[in-house]
Symmetry: C2
Subunit: 142 residues, 2 copies
Amino acid sequence: MDLDIGEVARRSGLPVSALRYYEEKGLIAPNGRRGLRRQYDAGVMQRLALIALGRNAGFSLDEIGRLIPAGPGDAPALDRKMLAARADELTSTIQELTVLRDALRHTAACRAPSHAECPTFMAALSHPGRIAPFRGKRKLTK
Amino acid sequence: MDLDIGEVARRSGLPVSALRYYEEKGLIAPNGRRGLRRQYDAGVMQRLALIALGRNAGFSLDEIGRLIPAGPGDAPALDRKMLAARADELTSTIQELTVLRDALRHTAACRAPSHAECPTFMAALSHPGRIAPFRGKRKLTK
DNA sequence: GTTCCAGCTCAAGTCGGCTTGAGGTCAAGG
DNA sequence: CCTTGACCTCAAGCCGACTTGAGCTGGAAC
């Protein structure tokens, strides 16, 4: 029992335009068509979940495409190396965010007359190498 | 002893084009000009550090502009409420990323013949509400 | 049999954060 | 004097991930 694109949109929370876009990018594909209409089988939902997972992990759609080629017989074949690498990156991202959050929290709470006089704040400011933005493609996710 | 834009670029790691762009957005301003050339005082470095901090925390340049108006006498006046709110958001972002990283790591290591047979993987997939992308402006930072 | 609705295609637009390019200015050095 | 190099302005372009709009189709309901 196949699903109309609208139904997939409803179930996934993604706009139909995004679904068509994903198709264009080769991330999903309808089972076939009924007339003009794309018909999806229920498995697409899992694939979308997987894509979302990837997006949340900071992969671009192109990377996701490389990461989860539709394996033969529909089980996505994941690239374990890429996953492990991203896991490591996430670890350092998490680390940075944690430092940042603590600094933010402290700064918000700190009652020094001027932030310039708060050592925690100043320490966060002079944290080495933090001025130039990440040059990576990490995005998380908009 | 004032700095040329090129010197600021060198010290901060930011391209000059980005510095001019920041100026256009009202985030930094030269001390004055010598001929046509912008001259910055050393304090700009701290301000850039602050901006970088904000970007890393996921604020847009516009938000940063609102967050750190150049206080009277050059000490930036931070909006403590906004900071606290973002700290809370960071906490949940961190939480999500941690779950994700663990799932990734596990998936990479897992030797089940197909990922479909790995319960950890499947659990990550069906984690509720994770399909639709965040609609916020969070970006982290590119 | 016409009015709808959901779907279709293709091209163009949007947004943030810059970058790039063309063309101009200016001080210092050979 | 003329070149070089660092800077200047302004307009346009770029990237990813979609969205929007115009104009079309095809089945179903009245």
